[in-house]
């Protein structure tokens, strides 16, 4: 049942995007529709970009010039709709993940066995996560280079990896012995630590995700401190610095 639902949700997201981009793709082929990013031109002249992750700049610059990216970027409604899907699914994924973490901490549903909460609610977080990744990827595709050089986006990606690592450690560690502490209203220390870590990481991921739209450290906003330009692999234009 979950698999069919998952497939349906994926198809829905893709269909919405296809519809939304198809209408506007044609008139945006010209140069007017191109992402005007100062550093995509600078990049072509700079053989070795500085900073962390500079080698991928050319790839994301090309992705920004693709018809998919331009279509998503220029469409009247595609970006807004996908972002709405992203926010709605945040409630499903983040909300239920938080409820599970709170159970691990013994702060809610204390009389419900942990394995029961995991079995009945975690599949929904998997569905939510898949939709989050699909919609998030589309949002990234709409503005690839700028997002890639966004310090909040990079922070979010690193914390996503850490959150994934935490899930893996929890499920391959203390959760294997869940039968011994299933009905405990307050689970053992290792489970509480996993719950607390997960809670903190997901909260930070949501916060930094929201901050991507308000980037104070954008490449186009020079001068920035050298450390910021290093961490965002920005190559400030010489003429702009003065």
């Amino acid at each position: 049942m979950q698999i069919r639902l998952l497939a349906f949700l994926c198809c829905l997201v893709l269909a919405i995007c296809y519809q939304a981009t198809a209408r506007t793709a044609a008139p945006t082929w010209g140069n007017a529709g191109r992402q005007t990013h100062v550093f995509s031109t600078v990049l072509l002249q700079t053989p070795a970009p500085q900073g962390i992750g500079g080698s991928l700049l050319a790839f994301f610059s090309r992705l920004g010039d693709s018809s998919w990216s331009v279509g998503l970027h220029e469409s009247r409604y595609a970006y807004d709709l996908i972002e709405s899907v992203h926010v709605w699914t945040l409630c499903l994924f983040f909300g239920l993940a938080v409820m599970f973490d709170l159970r691990l901490l013994g702060w809610t549903m204390r009389s419900v066995p942990v394995s029961e909460v995991a079995r009945r609610l975690l599949p929904w977080t998997v569905v939510g996560f898949v939709v989050m990744v699909i919609s998030g990827t589309l949002l990234f595709t709409a503005i690839p280079l700028r997002s890639y050089q966004n310090i909040f986006f990079r922070t979010k990606m690193i914390m996503l990896l850490l959150a994934g690592l935490n899930v893996w450690i929890f499920h391959s560690g203390v959760y294997r012995r869940v039968t011994t502490w299933d009905v405990a209203s307050v689970p053992p220390r290792a489970a509480r630590v996993a719950g607390a870590l997960s809670l903190v990481l997901w909260v930070c991921i949501v916060l930094s995700g929201r901050m991507i739209a308000y980037n104070w450290f954008d490449c186009d906003r020079q001068p920035q401190r050298p450390i910021i330009n290093f961490m965002t692999s920005c190559v400030p234009n010489q003429s702009e610095e003065h």
Binding site: L90, C91, L96, V98, T108, R120
Partner: protein
């Protein structure tokens, strides 16, 4: 004072002005607002999925609703505080934005529905309510709260 006059008064308030003049206050308050939304989503969905028969099954809905209640009410308070601050900083924009009125209508209906009809159905217990009504109540709840979240997101789109 007319409604527009009230909105203008909000816009000119000291708090609204402080938030508008800061480059980081609005984004930070908005991010906290979003966290509150996520927690409300979790608390609401735990109960609604139970009513739909798609979430937890062995526990009575009444017990889950009691467990989720502090998180629902807590995050709701957080939302109302941060939401009011955001509103003070852009009251005039809200006055002329359909999404704001859509959101306020959804919020009003969601609150009334959750704390009257839905609560009654849940507390009555499974034996006294036909399963189909529990499901209808859960779907209406999800729809109304979705209206609040999506309406809120669209205030940001011009």
């Amino acid at each position: 004072m007319s409604l527009l006059g009230f909105f203008q008064w909000c816009e000119q308030s000291g708090i609204g002005d402080t938030i508008r003049r800061s480059s980081w206050l609005f984004p930070v308050i908005e991010a906290i607002h979003l966290l509150g939304l996520g927690v409300i989503g979790g608390a609401v969905l735990t109960v609604d999925l139970r009513l739909l028969g798609l979430g937890l099954r062995r526990q009575p809905a009444a017990q889950l609703a009691r467990d989720a209640q502090p998180w629902l009410v807590g995050s709701l308070l957080l939302m109302l505080i941060t939401g009011s601050l955001l509103f003070l900083s852009e009251a005039i924009k809200c006055y002329y934005h359909e999404a704001f009125w859509f959101k306020m209508a959804s919020l009003f209906l969601a609150l009334v529905f959750t704390f009257t009809i839905q609560r009654k159905v849940i507390m009555a217990g499974e034996t006294r309510v036909r399963p189909v009504w529990s499901k209808v109540v859960a779907l209406v709840s999800i729809l109304l709260w979705s209206g609040v979240g999506i309406g809120g997101r669209w205030i940001g789109f011009s």
